[in-house]
């Protein structure tokens, strides 16, 4: 084949590749946030690789902990014993409190359901282009994870919600700090309601739709999920107000620092059942 034809053929293939991707971009307009089958396919193929690398790291990490880091174990054990003692006391008090409200049989059912509602997962990956948008966890549809389940950290603070793509063994979690995320919250002290949305860039959130005439909300107030959005259960701690700006617009500009810590976000729990429906 003459050289010029070879060159032309390469240019045509290149143009074809670009065209395919432009079609993929434009296909998302009718799909909205729902990923295409092609995108899901790539996620399904590559997420086991990510899971395997994570498992390898965990093995190396546990070997390190077992053989090299043993001298800290005694100290850690003492800390855990203290925490366990406090948790047991708290558990007894809560059980006693609940027993006054419910009979024993119903209480047993509630506690069993409560335990089943938490699905612990490890964070195995971060969003490839923006760490404040999403994370990948090592639990998927085979573990009972579905689209739209709330996710909390080890302190019980809100992290985000599961979002498609959810594969057999892994799932994507949309973080609170994603600019497309929206959570219905209220302030703990003054009961001011609003929508918590991420800024998508700096790990902070905005509390939206609080009217400029509302003088109640104060800096430092804690924000708690209200459950109105039917996605996140009520009562989860989401963050704290760090600044309030009132200008000429209809709504206040409220900056919120979410509780989720990006540096320590290694384990999370997926709420497979809405906790507020148990009681």
């Amino acid at each position: 084949m003459p050289q010029i034809h070879k060159e032309r053929r390469k240019q045509l293939i290149f143009a074809g590749l670009l065209l395919v991707q432009l079609v993929l971009i434009s296909l998302q307009v009718p799909l909205g946030e729902e990923p295409s089958y092609f995108e899901k396919g790539i996620f399904f193929i590559f997420s086991p690789v990510q899971k395997s690398v994570h498992a390898l790291f965990q093995k190396i990490g546990s070997a390190w902990t077992r053989y090299v880091y043993l001298r800290k174990v005694e100290q850690q054990n003492q800390g855990m014993r203290d925490e366990l003692f406090l948790l047991r006391q708290e558990n007894i008090q809560l059980r006693n409190g609940l027993e006054k409200l419910k009979d024993k049989q119903e209480l047993g059912r509630i506690l069993t359901d409560l335990r089943r509602s938490f699905l612990f997962a490890s964070v195995i990956g971060a969003d490839a282009s923006n760490m404040y948008k999403s994370i990948i966890i090592d639990k998927g549809s085979q573990d009972g994870v579905m689209n739209g389940m709330a996710v909390v950290d080890h302190h019980g603070n809100l992290v985000g919600r599961t979002i498609n793509p959810v594969s057999f063994g892994t799932a994507t979690v949309q973080l609170l700090t994603d600019d497309n995320s929206g959570v219905s919250v209220y302030s703990a002290d003054h009961r001011v309601t609003g929508v918590l949305a991420g800024d998508g860039r700096g790990g902070t959130c905005w509390l939206k739709y609080v009217q400029a005439t509302n003088a109640d909300l104060a800096v430092g107030e804690e924000l708690i999920t209200s459950g109105i959005d039917k996605i996140f259960p009520a009562g989860l701690k989401a963050g704290r107000v760090v600044s309030i700006i009132t200008d000429n617009s209809l709504f206040k500009k409220i900056v919120v620092r979410p509780y989720l810590g990006f540096g320590s976000l290694n384990f999370v729990a997926v709420l497979t059942q809405r906790l507020d429906t148990l009681f």
Partner: protein, 160 residues
């Protein structure tokens, strides 16, 4: 077939390092784009067609593991891979300093296209990783030129 296997291995290696870097520090994946690095290296070593296909594969993986618009990284990397192959055939980029500058320019181009498309589609500011993202072309150039030199030496040794 061998070229395809090498490109597939390149994709897997890039994905492996992306996962490992995430485990070490998120700042690492913000300051060194291993996918772009793999695309440029394949473009340099295998030509524009391999570069373009590799760019498409790596870019779409990045897009699948991100909540952004699916296809943006694909376009940016396909362009980077293709242009790397075309230019490196016409200009001698084998000497270390030249390859350093050339890889830096190509990585910068990929970043500029990605940022341009993101800004165009999202219509507002994009995430810059506290400025770390601007380190990508520099780090890609340094790591890429060293790897390019090593691979060439390794190949020359084995061909002898």
């Amino acid at each position: 077939m061998r070229d395809f296997m090498e490109a597939a291995a390149g994709v897997l290696i890039a994905f492996f390092f992306y996962t490992v870097f995430r485990k070490i520090s998120v700042s690492l994946i913000e300051s060194l784009n291993v996918f772009t690095l793999a695309v440029i290296l394949i473009g340099l070593l295998k030509g524009e067609m391999a570069g373009a296909f590799m760019g498409m594969a790596c870019g779409l993986i990045v897009d699948s593991f991100s909540l952004g618009v699916f296809g943006i990284s694909g376009v940016a990397n396909t362009l980077a891979g293709y242009l790397t192959g075309v230019i490196s055939r016409k200009v001698n980029v084998v000497p270390f300093l030249r390859s350093l500058v050339f890889i830096g320019i190509m990585a910068g181009l990929e970043l500029a296209v990605w940022m341009g498309l993101s800004a165009l589609i999202f219509g507002e500011g994009i995430y810059l990783g506290k400025g770390l993202i601007f380190l990508q072309p520099v780090l890609t150039a340094i790591v890429g030129s060293v790897l390019f030199l090593r691979i060439r030496k390794f190949k020359a040794k084995h061909e002898k």
